[in-house]
Amino acid sequence: MKAKGITAFSSRRFGAVVAVAFALVATTLPSATAAGEVFGKACTTEGISTGQSTTSLICTMGSNGKLTWTRVRLGSNSAKPVAALKAQPGTIEFHHWRPEDKVVLQSIIDKFEALNPGVHINQVIMNSVDYTNLAYAKISVNNKAALFVTSRGGQFDQFYKGGLLKDISSNRYVSQNVIASALTPATVNGAVYGVPYQSLFNNPLYNSEMFAKYGWTVPKNWTELLGFCKAVKAKGIIPFAWPAATRGNAGQIMNSFLMNSAPDLATLTARIAAIDTGKADLTSDWFVDIAKKYKAMNDGGCFPDNVTGYNDTVAPADFASGKAAIYPTGTFGMSTVTKLNPSMAGKMKMMSMITVDTKPLYQGITNNTFILSVNAKSSSRDQSIANAFLSFLATAPIAQEYAVGTSQHVSIINVDYAANIDLLNTSDIMGKKLLLAPRFLFVNVGTVRNPLEDALIAIGGGADITKTLADTSKTIKQSLGA
């Protein structure tokens, strides 16, 4: 099925969309310099690219609204990616939270061990909830955990504060193999403390086949979005399969609500920081406006009935079976959907969820997470093994194996997504102006972010805005003071 989909996939688009992934750090060149390389003097389709290497060109929309060729420059310098480092013999543990990646990672580990005789890497896997809560306690007392992952924001900060992250800035693979912009979440005061391996896109997935069948188009603004919900519901289809009963995935939609809620990024960051530190209340006008939009979506029929009891087992099943048009989580939800219904492969696309009627500042969300770090408290030999394995993961063929096998975009240069049609289909979001997921700017996860998201979920389910936000604000302030 997948092979058929790929064959059917237009070769022009195939070559192009892959490279669009790397437009995030594109450096604009004069169109005269770029014109004519492959596609002619002028580019006409946003997102079209000449390839996937650091010398590729991509067609992007300039600030003047015109399409221009832009040179992709992925690394922090123009040097070519380097090969993996060699490891000394020894055994280390690799701690992470993705049981679904176990097989692919084991295949990669087997290859690494074959290339480095005497090296053994054991995966230690917890589910993501347990990992969030227990990883620090476990890894901080286990020096054999020489390689581990953290998530962007609170968890990375916790490990950094605990002195568990080794500075890996001086490694050539860091500057030459990893997309430079992707390193931001793992960079502190100019030093790099890990490789954010996954490039996630926390935007709603939509069923492109269903959209085509009913003649729907992706809503471009808030008014269109509410109108879209009405049209979809009239057909007996759930517009947004929002898994409100499962906070982890229900919270993803908040990224879209936040991204265009402030006049600029600095203001947004300051507002989030004010709430995160208890200096501002959830009852501030800015946050109340966001809450009102959750309520408006519920009132507008965007969400399923009894949405606060609608969990993340039912939501992807409804989306996969054609009962819902949109599954508002992110690229990481695609593999679940195709497991539930393999015929969904190639039908999922990613949409910008615009919640304003003015010109949006951002068109989508990205997140560089699954930050791979070397344990600063491990022995130097174990650190060298971990570092060598990390450099191995940062080579294009291996990153590609991981990407295709796990349906995740990665932050490594020169990766070809051709073998996974869903990765290709959702790559066009990368040609848009994306914001690093603002949800993770709330670093006080248990004290602030969780209750805040619970409040928005309750409001999205119909709870009273004023009372819910006032009560939650009080809880947050009391918890911060404890």
Partner: protein, 295 residues
Amino acid sequence: MRTFNIKKTESRVLIAMAFPAFAIYAFLYLYPSLSNVYYSFQRWDGVTKPEFVGLHNFTYLATNDDLFMKVLGNNFRFSFIVVIFQTLLALLFATFLLKNTKTSIALRIVFFFPTILSSVSVGLIWNFLYDPNFGFINAILKSVGIPGLNWLGDTRYSLYAIALTQVWFHTGQMVVIYVAGLQQIPQELYEAAEVDGASRWQQFKNITWPMALPTTAVVVAYTTIQTFRAFDLVYSMTQGGPLNSSDMLVTLIYNTAFSSYKWGYASAQSIILVFVVLLLTYLQRRTLRLNTGEK
């Protein structure tokens, strides 16, 4: 002198034999418990050095933490509902399944069956049953014209929905305890009552209930402790939500420590939990003893 030496040697051997068990107990129970007491007087995020804050964590809990009070209330309500229903149902079933007939034994196994399931599995199964849009329970209700409820997604029902699951989960276990207790009641008492013309209800009221009080004390104490340890079920069904409506002390403590990284504060919360359980157990036992005339 010789006897004294033998006794001394024997006692040393006995101490040595008890040592491994004591060491395990000390390492796995005593040390963590004492550490917990120590950390309850500290402000500690699990990363930086703990800072001594005296009784601050306890005074803050008592005076400034509405969420803790709300969750404490949740736990009392949950405990009350489960203790009442689980105990009464277990006693009722045990009364009917007292005789060792094939049917009774088979039914006891059926009732006991949920107990052997893992609590997370039970949580997932009941999540499906409670699903507001296609769940079995709402389907039954709708088939007889009653509108379904958003069982786990509504702050008004979530706690009761979990309580019902808890009762289903553990009643069978209590049935077994009751059956064992009721089988100790001398048959002659019932025979004498029958000769005196006592009805089934009078037999239950005047013989079964008073004679079963010691067993009831065990069942009630055990059920109470279970309700204050109901972590897995709550976590797998609602994670304490929506809006903390089904949060229990154990889930709150877990979140305080592992999500908010307030380890000292979580330690203080857990000490309050221990005292609450101790107090409740003491009060229950005292009440039941008064009923049996024990002093």
